[in-house]
């Protein structure tokens, strides 16, 4: 049940909106999330989940290995500047070309 918590929380926030947020300051993080339905004249034609607090975005995609769906994180090409002595990584590891960026180095299958 715990794994559905973000989903259900988002659902509750969407359903009860400002009232829920106003009643409980702890729901601030949940209020960050917004589901954006597919737009008629824009690609991709799939719902988007946006965390407006962090900028992270997910697309609802069909799972390749089963009949289910899952949220797939959208990555960007901009890599954070390296901090001295620390490895930098971007998640998730792959994009459409099965590439990933790690420590400002780009790798592809």
């Amino acid at each position: 049940m715990k794994r559905f918590a973000p989903c259900l929380t988002t659902l509750a926030v969407l359903a009860f909106g400002e009232a829920a947020v106003a009643q409980s300051p702890d729901t601030g993080k949940s209020a960050c999330y917004e589901v954006i339905p597919p737009q008629p004249n824009a690609q991709p034609r799939t719902p988007m989940l946006v965390d407006r607090c962090s900028g992270r975005t997910w697309l609802l995609a069909k799972s390749g290995r089963s009949a289910g769906y899952r949220w797939v994180r959208v990555t960007t090409d901009d890599t954070p500047p390296p901090s001295p002595g620390a490895a930098q990584a971007k998640a998730p590891p792959s994009d459409a070309r099965n590439c990933f960026t790690f420590n400002n180095r780009r790798f592809c299958e």
Binding site: K2, R3, F4, C7, L8, T10, L11, L14, A15, G17, E34, V35, P37, P47, L60, S63, R65, S66, A67, G68, Y69, R70, W71, V72, R73, A86, A87, Q88, A89, A91, P92, P93, S94, C99, F100, F102, N103, R105, R106, F107, C108, E109
Partner: protein
């Protein structure tokens, strides 16, 4: 009106997720106490100081997961004209925390996302991406060597027989995965 449309949309998504147990996101808690054994075989063409060779490599990962930390060993066995050679080393890391690799140069990072536990490992040049897809008590592994863009062939300084090796080509020929608790 728009809000209720969004609610219905998300409700549908939740129902999809609930039905598709295999596609649910794994959590660190799900993996706590898991023991994972991977064996991956490759057909390779490599270049060493003595020349170019065709070889096979068998890589055996044995690891356990506890509180988001992964520890275990990696054993590589390659065929050579003088018979098989083996090299093992211990490994450890924490999911989501990049670190210097245990051997050679490069870094390693474990990522848990969706139904996959993924190891990204960089070498001197190029790297490895090991994707473990976990579905309850079963798993599969796919671990291709990956090329580094603009850097030429994959090179690692900690070859099984010692010294550096350049990988001209590598193809995974088999992979097996076992998970137990």
């Amino acid at each position: 009106m728009r809000r209720w449309r969004n609610v219905l949309l998300l409700l549908s998504a939740c129902l999809f997720l609930m039905q598709a147990g295999a596609a649910l996101a794994l959590t660190v808690e799900d993996l706590h106490g898991a023991k994972i054994e991977l064996r991956v075989n490759y057909d390779m063409r490599v270049r060493r100081a003595e020349g170019d060779f065709s070889t096979t490599m068998d890589v055996l990962w044995r690891m356990s997961v506890s509180d988001g930390k992964i520890s275990g060993s990696v054993t590589r066995t390659v065929t050579t004209p003088r018979g098989p050679r083996t090299r093992s080393h211990q490994m450890n890391g924490a999911i989501g925390q990049p670190k210097q690799a245990a051997t050679g140069s490069g870094h390693a990072l474990w990522i848990l996302e969706g139904d996959k536990l993924t190891l990204l490992r960089t070498f001197e040049t190029g790297g490895l991406k090991a994707e473990i897809t976990i579905n309850g008590s079963s798993c599969t592994v796919r671990a291709p060597l990956v090329r580094e863009q603009g850097a030429g062939n994959t090179k690692r300084s900690d070859s099984v027989v010692g010294g550096s090796v350049e990988v001209l080509s590598a193809r995974q020929t088999s992979g097996s995965c076992r998970i137990s608790r």
